[in-house]
Symmetry: C2
Subunit: 316 residues, 2 copies
């Protein structure tokens, strides 16, 4: 009986890692720098080395490790192939094959937002449910769809790309994806900040935001909470877009809960309460009571989901 699991969440700056015991929970959580030079060629060897060292340090034989679950910041096909990760310097890499070869362990790979969703469904805000949709509000808007405790990947790894749902019927400026109508343009920290700056430039209305050097999305949230009219308009645009998006998702999947994570979600009820209100107004009425919750695992959602990905992949 294999008793240990590894979760690895590969980001553009660090790789977050976790060693998990079936009986005792987390044995160790740690991180290493992500070496993106040479097209990211060192990343997976570094991961393999640190796993071997950490297991050895705890006196754990690799033979007792059931596998590694890896999240990567890009689309992942079902066979473990990553079709390009700009942030890591990768082109097409079969992470399952490469890391599996380096470690002699079974390796399962998923998109980072997808694997975070699995983590939240297993141990976080979604732990009472089998089917949840996570939206992560950060630099962009990512997401993951979990049905019956498993990640929905999509035919080319595009499931959960909720940040690019078309929620505007007019141009809201350029999204990184090349479109101009994406949820991400309103639901991300970047989108909130850009909108706040536009509003400040276009009007002479007084606003507490004008006095803030190096304005951030958090400042916009704070000013909104303090009653600043301009900041409130920014946040209303954001919560309208997010509430509409989950109403659409609700009519397609009818999940048990919606979860919001990522840096922006730290604003908590300031965002969630109006998102719930818009959701209830716009969703198919029998689905109005779906819980809309804040994700709880923060930066550990990815490694948690990595552990779970090994478990569900080996269930049958």
């Amino acid at each position: 009986m294999k008793k240990y699991y590894i979760g690895a969440d590969i980001g553009g700056t660090t790789v977050k890692m976790g060693l998990y015991s079936e009986e005792a929970g987390w044995v160790e959580k740690w991180e290493i720098p992500t070496r993106t030079e040479k097209s990211g060629a060192y990343i997976l060897p570094d991961v393999a080395d640190t796993i071997a060292q950490t297991c050895a340090g705890h006196g754990i034989s690799m033979a007792d490790v059931a596998g590694i679950g890896v999240g990567v910041p890009g689309p992942v096909l079902r066979n473990g192939t990553v079709n390009g990760c700009v942030n890591l310097g990768w082109g097409v890499v079969n992470v399952a094959d490469v890391l599996g070869g380096l470690t002699n362990l079974p390796v399962y790979v998923a998109n980072d937002a997808n694997i975070a969703a699995l983590g939240e469904q297993w141990k976080g805000a979604g732990s009472a449910y089998q089917s949840v949709v996570l939206l992560t509000l950060g630099t962009g808007v990512g997401g993951g769809v979990i049905l019956d405790g498993r990640i929905v990947t999509g035919v080319v790894g595009g499931a959960g790309e909720v940040g690019h749902m078309p929620v505007f019927d007019h141009s809201e400026g350029a999204c990184n994806c090349g479109k101009d109508n994406c949820l991400e343009l309103a639901g991300s920290a970047t989108g909130v900040l850009r909108d706040a700056k536009r509003r400040l430039a276009e009007s002479d209305a007084p606003s507490a935001m004008r006095g803030i050097e190096n304005l951030t999305a958090k400042d916009v949230c704070d000013c909104c909470a303090a009653g600043d009219t301009l900041a409130q308009a920014c946040i209303r645009r954001t919560t309208d877009a997010l509430g509409t998006a989950i109403a659409s998702i609700g009519c397609v999947l009818n999940p048990e809960a919606f979860l919001f994570g990522g840096g922006m979600a730290a604003a908590g009820e300031l965002l969630l309460e109006p998102i719930r209100k818009v959701y209830r107004e716009k969703v198919f009425p029998p689905l109005r009571d779906t819980p809309v919750l804040r994700a709880t695992l923060g930066n550990e959602a990815g490694i948690t989901g990595g552990v779970r990905l090994v478990q569900v992949s080996q269930e049958k």
Copy 2:
């Protein structure tokens, strides 16, 4: 080894039935009237009787029938309970238990649009795929989500209720569901007709539609095809809404194909070509090439999906 399957598609007017042989395909397809009187109390006994008679007529023992797959026009919970079917006169009915008790056969139940989607995925326009989303354009807009060859039901049977996705940011009049922004208001025959009448009333522009008594949605499509400007505006509204909706669904699920069925889909490329164009403009760019196809099974999608529902339900 059980060799036969029954598919039953219970509608407000008729119950469509099919007896299917593992080896030889359809043995018989038939229909009986739906008796909605007495709160629909006769419907399931009638279905049980006609199954017994038809099997007997073919010399088939009920012991050789693997089960019955039933589509019903309402939301269905996973345990086979139907939470009210207005068209049938039903309140809460556990169809699996009742029909199972009457026939001594395993009974599996799904929403009618969901089971039609399963039929199309198995034997129709989706037969090359495992994961498809069907939209049915009729009096309303229904739908079904098939992932990995199985129906996605949703926590209260609301998955696939794509007709109520909020695709308008303004009121488009009253939908049956109580909202005023639903896809159905533009994507259904009812919605097309209502929009055409409104445009005719609000303008003096010449239109071939003005000369048509008892205008239908098909007339609007025909006038559109003949170059009528007002009819073209109606259909553009419809295809804009449908293209936007599947672009949203694409960003959530990234299915292998989108299928369009129902009476309105008979207009074929007149609708599908502009829907594809809007989809490609609005979806996450890596997902632009998802096929958008016309469903092919017509009225037999439901009974076909019924047979398949028995098969997939008994697979493990």
